[in-house]
């Protein structure tokens, strides 16, 4: 079974600074990888996804993520953070099977300071 680790529980970043959130997965085959964002009191919104092909994927809100097979990682980045990026971010991995399940990491909370 696949699993996801997000090593950072909480990150604080200054507005305008760059942001990188780490995600490591455990899965034998090529995974389907996702990043979701959850604003306070809201549901989860998909930021971006990786299925195959180009290992650098672009998402919404100026986010990007890079799939590195050798490191089993799918880190999320944003070059310049806005105050509205304060939220909780979840990495998820899906299996290449027929039940379309996802496994989620524990999440990273991002605080943006002025």
């Amino acid at each position: 079974a696949q699993s996801v680790t997000q090593p950072d529980i909480h990150i604080t970043v200054s507005e305008g600074a760059s942001l990188e959130l780490r995600c490591n997965y455990s899965y034998g085959a090529t995974p389907y990888l996702f990043w979701y964002v959850q604003s306070p009191g809201q549901g989860l919104q998909l930021l971006l996804k990786y299925f195959s092909g180009d290992t650098l994927v672009q998402g919404i809100k100026g986010f990007e993520a890079e799939f590195k097979r050798s490191q089993s990682s799918f880190n999320l980045r944003k070059p310049s953070v806005h105050w509205s990026d304060a939220a909780e971010y979840f990495c998820a991995v899906g299996e290449q099977s027929n039940d379309y399940k996802l496994s989620f990491g524990a999440g990273t909370t991002v605080t943006v300071r002025a």
Binding site: Y32, G43, L44, L46, G94, Y100, L102, F104, A106
Partner: protein
């Protein structure tokens, strides 16, 4: 946004009472999921459905049951609520087409408090 609604959005109940949460979708997606979200655990899958009357257990299914009598509705029941089931519950949906590759769309969540 995907058409997913959850009801109720907030509920406070007492230990030992039955509780049913409803998820309704207007997307005609085949797959539906129930998750619970707890601090430090992310989202954990409770049950999921891959069609009408077709359901299966997730990783934290004990104490929960589900039913899906129509494509658009997926019900989660706590037969006898316990304080450990205090959580935020999310419903999600997914297409069955290969091109979707497990992408899931989430509802707004239900905050359940069991006293």
């Amino acid at each position: 946004d995907a058409g997913i609604t959850q009801s109720p959005r907030h509920k406070v109940t007492e230990t030992g009472t039955p509780v049913t949460l409803r998820c309704h979708q207007t997307e005609n997606h085949r797959y539906m999921y129930w998750y619970r979200q707890d601090p430090g655990h992310g989202l954990r899958l409770i049950h999921y459905s891959y069609g009408v009357k077709d359901t299966d257990k997730g990783e934290v299914s004990d104490g929960y049951s589900v039913s899906r009598s129509k494509t658009e509705d997926f019900l989660l029941t706590l037969e006898s609520a316990t304080s450990s089931q205090t959580s935020v519950y999310f419903c999600a949906i997914s297409e069955s087409m290969a091109s979707s590759y497990n992408e899931q769309f989430f509802g707004p969540g239900t905050r359940l408090t069991v006293l």
